[in-house]
Symmetry: C2
């Protein structure tokens, strides 16, 4: 049995999507039980439409819902102890739940998660890892926006945590890890990235294969299983890719509608276009994983629908089921035991 706590109030659409999403995920993973946090009078009538879910869910009434525009500090002040977001996370801390899911605002969710769960002993700063669709399958990209600026040691932590997540998500033994840079030569890029490359090259890590520097166009190819980058650049790269995908979809739509020939062509190729739409469907890879905290928290896209929300719950399920936290803990412990000095064996 896997217990998942849900901040039902988060997101642009709120309870309707979260509950329908929870019901959908339950059909795929019948061993989930849910703890639903939010306005009870809003949740109960929706829940009544999903009897199977209702049988596996407990509702906890919370008076406060964190707004999508609230600043993290404000959300924390107003929502600590009493908001649906806080209580969904707190359930993880109290071991009543194995993972928390929220579609609420990222800044507030991260602030509450850090405040409530605290970072792991060896970790300075958390990261958000995203799942990136590639021509090769899927890769993990972190950090996509938790930590603006990261030094070499933090980039190394991201590599270790991303590697552990790849082992949990893709079930591969020794994921490849690349550092995102402006060129593949060892002389290029910012100091932190070069230094992190040195640490990773010199490190003795069983569960991870360091593949060197990678560039922006490697993301779409899935050259490595895990792409490590500081949060400002990672966030901009993610949104640039999303924007480019939408831009091309728009070009394609307008090209296919222009002449009667192309419209006929579209009719014949409908199946192919459906396949393409499926490939590009952002709901399928929904779920940013917060890494480096003493507990699993998953951020769903705020504007998603039930299908997307269910995908975020799927990620939470996989992370619990495949022992993400234990894998991170193991890799960090192993790394620090073998490479006593934080600057790598050379400096020890």
């Amino acid at each position: 049995m896997i217990k998942i706590s849900i901040d039902v109030m988060g997101g642009d659409v709120g309870a309707e999507v979260a509950i329908a999403g929870a019901a959908k995920a339950l059909t795929r993973h019948p061993d989930i039980t849910y703890l639903l946090y939010g306005h009870e009078q809003e949740i109960v009538p929706i829940l009544a439409r999903f009897p199977k879910l209702a049988a596996r869910a407990e509702v906890f009434d919370c008076e406060v819902a964190v707004g999508m525009d609230e600043k993290p500090s404000q959300a924390l002040r107003r929502g600590r102890n009493v908001s649906s977001m806080w209580r969904a996370i707190e359930a993880v801390r109290e071991k009543q739940s194995d993972a928390a899911v929220s579609a609420g605002n990222t800044g507030a969710l991260m602030a509450m998660a850090v405040f409530c769960l605290k970072t792991m002993p060896a970790i300075d700063r958390p990261a958000i890892a995203g799942i990136w669709p590639t021509t090769n399958g899927e890769s993990i990209v972190l950090d996509i926006g938790a930590t603006i600026g990261a030094d070499a040691k933090q980039l190394l932590d991201f590599a270790l945590m991303g590697g552990a997540m790849a082992r949990a998500l893709f079930e591969i033994k020794r994921p490849t890890v690349g550092l995102l840079n402006v060129g593949v030569e060892e002389v290029k890029g910012v100091e932190q990235v070069k230094e992190a490359g040195k640490l990773l090259r010199e490190a003795d890590i069983d569960n991870l294969e360091y593949a060197g520097f990678v560039e922006g166009d490697d993301l779409g190819k899935g050259t490595v299983d895990v792409f490590v980058v500081e949060g400002f650049t990672g966030n901009i790269a993610l949104k640039t890719a999303e924007g480019t995908a939408r831009q091309i979809a728009e070009y394609l739509r307008s090209a296919m509608g222009r002449t009667w020939m192309s419209r006929i062509g579209y009719l014949f190729a409908r199946g192919a276009f459906r396949m393409l739409r499926d490939k590009l469907d952002p709901r399928k890879v929904n779920g940013g994983v917060f890494l480096g905290l003493n507990g699993i928290v998953i951020k769903s896209h705020g504007g998603t629908d039930a299908e997307g929300y269910a995908a975020a719950i799927d990620v939470a399920y996989d992370m619990v089921h495949n022992g993400l936290q234990a894998k991170i803990q193991h890799d960090l412990t192993e790394y620090h035991a073998r490479n006593e000095s934080p600057m790598g064996p050379e400096a020890a």
Copy 2:
């Protein structure tokens, strides 16, 4: 008459592409005269195939060609005064040419351009501006890789130079300028970006409209005419977009080839696909513009063909024809005259 000096030896393919590209651009702009720098014995037989170009071109024999893998310092040591790359730039300094074009390696080209032409008096560091296709037309994005890390003052300089380039390239009076950030709220992002936002908000600039922070997905939409970003992130965003476009093209190709229905559809919609390919053609927007130097230097993609090379020459032509340097100079002078203190009027 506009004089353009060409480093014929640069790029992955060299003289063949550069000369064919120059011939192509000449058909569109018959008032160009060329100064061609490179191995004379290689250039002369190719040039013989383009009699119209030969009539408008002078060949300068250079013994050294800078390699695509040479480090900037090495290229400068080996190629100063004698390489085709150096001499094409030097022609600009000596006023024999109005702009230099090279498909050679970016690092070496930038190092030589800075060394030979020097940065403009008010500019600390140069930028490379790229032309980004958007659903809205085209936008300018800078810096895409000249300067790793940029402080607030340098981001402000990039905004001024990008604005001047937009006036020269798009012939609009008051381009909109946005700062690339991880959120549109004024509280978000790195310090330099927030500080640059403050400088731009407070600045009194006739030729530029500051539009605030923009995000990665605004690039594809062309929300603003000019996107300003530090070079590490800008380079990764550019390559991420290129990679995403290739990834989707590959999905599309494989989807269209899967069934006989989709293959028939493809035949009918051939025209539409041609249009789409045209829209996504990276050759059409070839040409990175070096900004902030005492002279115009254009970097063509190293792996392009004659069509792409001609597009880079078109950019050089437009920049000279529309007075890029004078526009930059004017905007910088005006800004500094009106906002005496470099920290903006508030701090004055």
